[in-house]
Amino acid sequence: MTTILKLDAVCKAFGAVKVADDLSYEVAQGEALGVIGPNGAGKTSMFNLITGTLAPNSGRVVFAGNDVTSHNAARRCHAGIARSFQVPQPFSHMTVFENAMVAATQAAGLREHAAERFCIEVLEQTGLLAKANTTAGSLTLLERKRLELTRALCAKPKLLLLDEIAGGLTEAECVSLIRTIKDIHASGVTIIWIEHVVHALLEVVDRLIVIDFGRLIAEGEPHAIMDSPAVKEIYLGIEADA
Amino acid sequence: ANPVLRVGHVSPRTGPLAGFAEADDYVLEAIQKTFAAGLENNGKTWSVEIISKDSQSNPNRAAEVAADLILGDEVDIIVAASTPETVNPVSDQAEINEVPCITTDCPWQPYFFGRNGVPGEGFMNTYHFFWGLEDVIAAFLDMWGQVDVEKSVGGLFPNDADGNAWGDAENGLPKPLAAAGYSLVDPGRYQPLSDDFSNQIAAFKEAGCEIVTGNMIPPDFATFWSQSAQQGFAPRIVTIGKALLFPSVIESLGERGEGLSSEVWWSPNHPFSSSLTGASAKDLAEGYSAASGRPWTQPIGFKHALFEVVADVIRRAEDLEDPAAIVETIAATNLDTIVGPVNWANGPINNVTKTPLVAGQWQKDGDAMELKIVANSTAPEIPTTGELKLLG
């Protein structure tokens, strides 16, 4: 089993707030890793460090065997990292389909015609095909989140970073989302998924890490982690001795 | 019907140079009246149509409207006046499009050298009448020589067509001033619309200048003049071209406008009269004041004279259908106009002829400020109307 992503003692602080504090872990090729942690723990910041949106104060990010710490976001994307944004970042004046096309042509490097077919496929998978010609700016919050997922998929990533995509879904929608992500995972894509909707997360991931104050405080088999006293206390708010 | 001859006219009706053209309406109206019956040429009567366009004080626009007049209105003669910013682009268009062109109201050096004219060759189709820097210098020296002041002169020349010409080491003020025994302190070309003249003032103070001269636009002069007072610089004579031409500028300076001096190209006291209407300089100036309620300005005479020359050329031309013949006629002009004689045969250089120039000072006359002619040895036919008084 090869390692696709490795964080090596990554540190990042905004003034006094440490969002990554000596953060080290590895993700294996083909794995699905879940990330939980209290609000403000530094989960989204960790994604920013992996994708190159943020530069670390110290430490290294290694992707597919290459040290990418000094590479910009675009370069890392070409190397195979794609993400969804927690706060959706659509190309508001472009249609949903064009949003997808940007990913397919720029990130995945597909030629025009192949890109078109591929985007239609992905849109169908994520349930946005009916909105293909709609301007992204007029989507609802949740549709925007789905667009985030669509775009990330259209980039044909090796490593897919998902930041809270299940929030606000109805039960039925959530089930279909889980199915989609499982399919993606089954096709060989490595996934790191930040999610507060823990039950959805547990359906998919092989391993769970817990972040608090930028530090990795627990890591291991998902259900075991969820049952651990630390997680109960800091994350679920269940008093350990109750 | 009579054949029609079209005259194109470009001037800065609007924009920062609009002061130069403020009397255009008045002058053109009078001219059109005299042209109303048509002009005789070779026994035929020609109707003359004047098409006037605004350059908006913008050289780009001046080129534009000149081309419009030439290509669109197909004018037979094009005329322009007021500063190199108007005169040069119009002349250039006329030259390349082979249309006869007469211009005025811009010293001839920026006109000639500013257009890359080559002495001895000159231009094919474009002619200019006004005075030159040598006349300004002579008039200034004449004025300054009347009083006893330190012969140290501070120079203020902007980096524009006029300023570069006035300050030019070869053709501008420096050489003749030195020859006349004056030392010139010239800190260098400043960019028009500067907010600060402290450095120039410091340099003038340092050198003990008692005279300040140059060519400025009014806002720059106003800034300089109040800063001088603030910074304790009190020259005895201040003689500035362009900025001090217009009564409105002097008025805006209040008390501190009194005693400033300037070149005088034309005034109601000039002993000339119009070849078209017979009116004297005084008649023309008073006519304007009466019609507009505003004081007379110097460009009035030249604008009138411009059309005197046009009328004269139309009358004399051998063949008004042929541009080359018109150009020939212009070159052969010999006319006494309201601003003095215009005769390109006596030009200092190809395509240029000169009119007389004297120097004057703004002095209080009753309530109003009046431009008195205080030095006339350059053109003794123009009588002086006052005596130079030192400032301060």
Binding site: - | P16, S194, D195, A222, Q231
Partner: protein
């Protein structure tokens, strides 16, 4: 000594630039509005001053009593009647509308007042000077500088220590949500523009006393004002003052080397600062 003189005169000139810039900085900060007409509004204020002094014979500084409220009212009306409709994420509508406004003001002034240069006659104030350590300083530039400091102090205080200032910042961040806080954004923006034009009114009168003006000189003033704002860093009015001073000193020092360099030196100083500090010298932390 000559260099010192150049620097001191430049710093005083900077006070005037800071005054030009303060109003711009305020509306830029509150509404993200790039007001191309700002320079022309300064000139408009000078002309209002001219009209008032001509009609009443008041000293130009006393004319402020009329001009300042008038400019405030114009600002409020302009904002509510016109500029409010242009605000949004897009930079262009305000840019173009204020550009149109600039053309209209300029040519309107030309129609009404003609192209003649005008000046406000402040009598002895214009030429009075005081001597400090061998330097001769004009009372007017010193006064201008002092006014600039006072105005900027007042604006800064308003912005960060009053509920009006808080309202300015909130509305500038998110208009919809600010509405939910009971803030009428149209009114708040109107007040911001009114305040900005009050400052512009003061600047215009001081400009009119310092130098003569005609309807066309607004553009040149506008660019200095922008430079001062950006050098100082957005949202920091003291920075704007510093920006004005840097600009003024760069100009006079540049002119000392060669008068042709006066304006160029100011622009180059601006570009240099951008090259080393793209957010200006004193950007407000974490904005």
């Amino acid at each position: 000594m000559e260099w010192l003189n150049a620097i001191v005169q430049g710093a005083l000139l900077g006070g005037l630039y800071a005054l030009f810039a303060a109003g711009l900085s305020l509306i830029f900060g509150v509404m993200r509005l790039v007001n191309i007409a700002h320079g022309d509004l300064i000139v408009l204020a000078a002309y209002l001053g001219l009209t008032v002094t001509a009609a009443t014979g008041l000293h130009p500084l006393l004319a402020l009593v009329v001009v300042v409220p008038a400019m405030g009212a114009i600002g409020y009306a302009l904002q509510r009647g016109l500029l409010n409709q242009t605000l949004g994420d897009d930079l262009l509508p305000p840019l173009l509308v204020t550009f149109g406004l600039s053309v209209i003001i300029q040519n309107g002034l030309l129609e009404v007042y003609s192209a003649d240069p005008q000046k406000l006659d402040a009598g002895a104030l214009e030429t009075a000077s005081l001597s400090v350590g061998g330097l001769s300083l004009g009372i007017l530039p010193v006064l201008t500088f002092a006014v600039a400091v006072a105005v900027i102090w007042a604006l800064q205080w308003t912005f960060y220590h009053t509920s009006l200032g808080r309202a300015f910042r909130a509305v500038s961040d998110n208009q919809d949500i600010a509405q939910l806080m009971g803030l009428n954004r149209r009114h708040v923006f109107g007040l911001a523009m009114a305040l900005a034009l009050v400052v512009t009114g003061i600047a215009g009168i001081l400009l009119g006393i310092r130098t003569s003006f005609d309807p066309s000189i607004g553009g040149g003033r506008l660019i200095f004002a922008f430079e001062a704002v950006i050098i100082g860093g957005l949202g920091n009015l003291w920075g704007t003052l510093a920006g004005g001073v840097i600009l003024g000193v760069a100009q006079t020092v540049g002119a000392k080397i060669d008068p042709g360099w006066q304006l160029l030196a100011g622009h180059l100083a601006f570009l240099f600062i951008l090259a080393v500090r793209p957010n200006g010298l004193f950007p407000r932390v974490a904005a």
